[in-house]
Amino acid sequence: MSDLWSLVFGRLTLDALPVLEIIHATNGRELASGIVGTTAAGLAVLGALYLVYALTKYHLWGPLWRDWLTSVDHKKIGIMYVVLALVMLARALAEAFVMRTQQALGDGGGGLVSNEHFAQLFSTHGTIMIFFMAMPFLTGLINYVMPLQIGSRDVAFPTMNSVSLGFTAAGAVLLMISLVLQPFSTGGWTGYPPFTEAAFNPGPGPDYWIWAVTLSGIGTTLSGINFVVTIYKFRCDGMKLMDMPLFCWTSLCTSILMIFALPPLTVATGLLALDRYLGFHMFTNDGGGNMMNFANLFWLFGHPEVYILILPAFGVYSEVFSTFSSKTLYGYTALVIATMCIAVLSFTVWVHHFFTMGQSANLNAIFGIATMLIGIPTGVKIYDWMLTMYRGRVRMAVPMVYAVAFLILFTIGGLSGILLANPSLDYVMHNTLFLVAHFHNMLIPGLLFGMLAGYTLWFPKAFGFILDPKWGYRAAYLWIAGFVFAFFPLYGLGILGMPRRMAEYFNGAWFPLTLVALLGAVMIIAAFACLCIQLYVSIKNREALAVPMGDPWDSRTLEWAVPAPAPEWNFPATPEVEGRDAFATLKEGGYDLRAPDDGYHDIEMPRNSALGPVLMVGSTAMAFGLVWYMWWLAALGAMVCFAATVACGFRRNTHRIVKAEDVKAEWEAFCALADTTPRIPRSLEQTTQNMGHASPASEEITS
């Protein structure tokens, strides 16, 4: 019986169920821990079951498959990425809340979750936030916006785009499975060996981490290739590289980093997998392994990764400052050069993540100086953004609230980074909550606020109605206040010497500040609730909030020149542009909406492809099989992936034609609507009077 069981289920047994922690609990804290874990798993299962139920009840399986999962439209793929990001954000925020609660209660050894459970929480929280929240969010925004901004119909390789999403989603699915079939890794998001080696951690945890991260890494690399080729080869006529909107520039630099920085991660996790599965001695204590090389390889990826995360947000802020100041971006060239400098310098500073590993002082000093150098181009950017606002028609719309908060908070975070860049100070701060405060200070006001600003900015383009501003402001202010309360105390705790990743402690001096941080976490949860309510309210009022003319913010770049939601083919004819701020130039000339010069033509669009979802299922099965030693499942998953890829090579006739008359009908209806839709001034921007038809900025200034 047990032989048969292990043949089918590998090492998976009923012990993997979190409810076992309740049954085996010996004290109150373990009982609570089991209840927390079981509730989380239950919510995941219920959520999945409800999804299946709803899809079946409303007969949505067909549309889901046809219009979304197999779609290779960059806009739909972008939306799916952002949905994935928001779902994963919800989970990782809940985990953050539990962790803050634990640390607030942990003085004297009390609390809510066991040490082991706490370790899983910080591991999943970090892994999710980086790989399955931040990365999909920014990839989704780039996917949706970048091709429109450069006047293209799609990305260079639409099917591969869907494959990228498939791999990323497979990693996310693996993480969700780990909630139900436990445990996940306890090694943190960095998964350092030897702790994650088979000798110390023989269970499935590190394997979950390895495969989730590897799959997401492959997906990201493919995305990067796709974006780079798109930007190089698919810009519309007249758009030179130095005419691109800044978001495209940051997308380009991020994509280059994705292409070159993800391979070290693949190497690191791949070698760790060889150690764990085949008994290699790459990073082991014995047998001539060298665990330091893992830290080295991981941060060769990890440092460029933080710029992969932050650069698209910089791009969003550039668009936000320019749009909501009704001015062209100040210092465009400086911003482009600064972006490139950051991208290149990001490859030269990885050692600052392990100053304390024992290299010589000279080596550390060199990397410390290189690290500080990055402050220069970033500082240039901050000034450029401030000067963009100077004497502009500034509106404090929701994205602008995030952006202004970013300017202030990001600068504070940057200063704490300069402190940490000094190796001698880093020796004191290393592995304390000061570091945790620092990188959250960079990633929340930097990355997350940027993503939320972008979400608010481009939501009307994707769905045809703006997000309710009232709940938007509530969310934004709660995010800002919540961040300040949750993370500024951690700077203090770090200086007081509190190590990171600690579930319980015996130092009463830390208790008050952990309580303040918990208050911040509550506010952040409230902020996320506001975002959910905002979405619900906006969908309910979508008629009143509709902006069918597609330009609600009087923006300056090409994506706003098309209706909202954007048509499948993006542009009736590929646009020809001159100079920067292409749409603003068109509007000033009074040519914003017009028929293509040489008439309408048939448009060739890529057909749907099932490769992405098939690879997603195949790679999830393979990874799951590898985690639990279900070798038949791993082999089956690998076979499915292989067969699907080869079969895809035999596909022909991958395009279909959209008829010229259909394009004409749709575009002319849009132009006709323009004649009857009033133009509104900026003062009415966030009201229901906004139909997405902006009155020219020049008129408004004179009146």
Binding site: V228, P264, L278, F280, M282, G288, N290, F650
Partner: protein, 205 residues
């Protein structure tokens, strides 16, 4: 060479639309290859830093043999040349026969290479050179077989292309596929230059 619209391998303007799409596809594949190059570069650097970690086990002089490595090097070099002929066949001859023959020759050479390499590994294992023996051998087996797997994958791809020719003839997709496979093929030879220089000559010198 003013006729080429994009750098590197190309079809030439008389191939019409295939040449246009090749510009994007070939560039995209180049980017992918460069990403892969980082993987090999890092594995080589890892090999260099691990090469002293013998853990009391056998070292390069006991395990490596020059003669088979030399033959393997020649096999890959020849297959690069024959693959070039396959590409010329595709570019200048409307009928695929020439291209198919040269492609088959290239695949045969590459498969002999893989076979010899496997034989090397078996010989090494016989002398105690298994990956579990030491950090040095772990890093060796992380690097060299990965190249072999790439070569095998390239052969499978070549066979898939032959299958596509059998079904569709020498159409645009086959042509751009051949260009991309060509990049992979020559790239793998370049990686092998790194491997024989660092691993084998570095180990035996």
């Amino acid at each position: 060479m003013s006729t080429t619209r994009h750098p590197g391998l190309n079809l030439g303007p008389h191939h019409g639309e295939a040449d246009d799409t090749a510009e994007v596809e070939v560039f995209g594949f180049w980017v992918f290859m460069m990403s892969d190059a980082i993987i090999f570069g890092l594995l080589m650097a890892t090999y260099v830093v691990m090469s002293g970690n013998l853990n009391g086990g056998p070292g390069p002089r006991e395990l490596f043999e020059l003669r088979p490595v030399f033959i393997e090097t020649m096999l890959l070099l020849f297959s690069s040349l024959t693959f070039g002929f396959a590409q010329i066949g595709m570019k200048y001859h409307p009928h695929p026969a020439r291209m198919i023959i040269w492609l088959l020759v290239s695949v045969a050479l590459a498969l002999i290479f893989v076979g010899m390499e496997v034989n090397d590994f078996i010989t090494m294992a016989g002398k105690g050179g298994i990956p579990q023996a030491s950090g040095f051998l772990s890093s060796f087996y992380a690097l060299v077989p990965l190249h072999g797997i790439h070569v095998t994958a390239a052969c499978i791809w070549a066979l898939a292309i032959l299958g596509q020719i059998a079904v569709y003839g020498l159409d645009d997709e086959v042509k751009t596929g051949m260009l991309r496979l060509g990049i992979l093929w020559h790239f793998l030879d370049i990686v092998w230059i790194g491997i024989f220089s660092i691993v084998y000559i570095g180990g035996l010198a």
